[in-house]
Amino acid sequence: MDTPSYFPVPPGVGMEDNFLSLDDILLSQERLPVRTECVFPRLGFLEKSSDSQDIQEGTKMELPLWLCKGLYEKKRKVLSVELPKIYKEGWRTVFTADPNVVDLHKMGPYYYGLGSQMLHFDSPENPDIAKTLLQTFIGRFRRTMDSSQNAYNEDTSVLVGRLDFLEKVLFKSGQSGLNGFQGWEKGQAAQLTASSLVLNYRKRKIVDIQS
């Protein structure tokens, strides 16, 4: 079977993120709306909307998740993090009503990952967010499973288009199970094929070695 030349590190999903996971690195760049709780001296260049040298107390701005996690402290209030709108009450009601209708790729695409990371920041709504995340996953599970286990040899971009990043990983593992079985049933497993490493290997030109 096809073995990739490297094994991607899976995303951490929960409150802990995986340091080496590409998805988690991309996730840490997601921007969060924050409100500064003290003056940030000489950092005015970060905030393009005002001309002052410092970032004033009470400024509303957007900061990436990794910076928020670093600056956030419970005891000394440096900044307070507001919830992105998909985790707010209004959207939570939508997710409880029918999680299948939401285009999580457009809304996220790291809906579950970011949601779990939001739990780092103290908020009275945290238990509700965690509950909604779990319920959304459960509600959408059937769709992900059925589409990944039935779409054989067809264009999956429509099926994948509305999925969250986490669900996409699941979709892929479902597809590998289906493809493996279908390939075996058709007798492709019995044919010997060259490894992709050998196929991709190009002969070095003498010019490249000399230069």
């Binding site: 739990l119 459960i138 599970f141 499973m145 286990q149 289906l178 493996g180 079985f181 049933e185």
Partner: protein, 186 residues
């Protein structure tokens, strides 16, 4: 696990053949086989049966369950019951494919059997998906997989395990602080 590995395991199943040559008992690590006498049926593993068949040294007798009437009965039962009924053989899918591909001339009504087994497979896989869904929906911690065959488990294993992992992590979000201190090494 790759489906071809599952097939490899299935090749250890025994099947009856009628050889057309004579040979003394042969002693192998996996057990003694034979003696082979022309016209007398003998139990051998599938891998040997297929090898002999390809060299036209034997005739394969299909296993008892590989019979149109019996399979029809199993199919009806499988459709009627909500739970999994005992599979005709723990390797029914693999054996059907192996035997029908290599020895279809020894099996009466091979085409019908192929369709029937495929029907049974489809019914069972649909049931498997249904139970996986209700398993996730009710957030159960464990499930009993009675009467499932290796090949069936194998098609859904990767997907189900990954989903359960995700669900576990999302659920541990509900109790903050419970997962602290778990670091994976890479």
């Amino acid at each position: 696990m790759d489906p071809s590995e599952v097939e490899f395991l299935a090749e250890k199943e025994f099947v009856k053949i009628i050889p057309n040559f004579s040979l003394d008992k042969i002693y192998l690590i996996g057990g003694d086989l034979g003696p082979f006498n022309p016209g007398l049926s003998v139990d051998v593993p599938v891998w040997l049966a297929l090898n002999l068949k390809q060299r036209q040294k034997c005739r394969i007798l299909p296993p008892e369950w590989m019979d149109v009437e019996k399979l029809e009965e199993i199919r009806e039962l499988e459709r009627k019951e909500d739970t999994f009924t005992p599979a005709p053989s723990p390797y029914y899918m693999e054996l059907t494919k192996l035997l029908l591909n290599h020895a279809s001339d020894n099996i009466p009504k091979a085409d019908e059997i192929r369709t029937l087994v495929k029907d049974i497979w489809d019914t069972r896989v649909a049931k498997l998906r249904l139970s996986a869904d209700s398993f996730i929906r009710q957030q159960e911690a464990h499930a009993q997989l009675d009467n499932l065959t290796l090949m069936e488990i194998n098609t859904i294993r990767e997907f189900l395990l990954d989903s359960l992992n995700c669900m576990y992590k999302l659920r541990s979000n509900l109790q903050p602080g419970a997962t602290k201190g778990q670091f994976a090494d890479y």
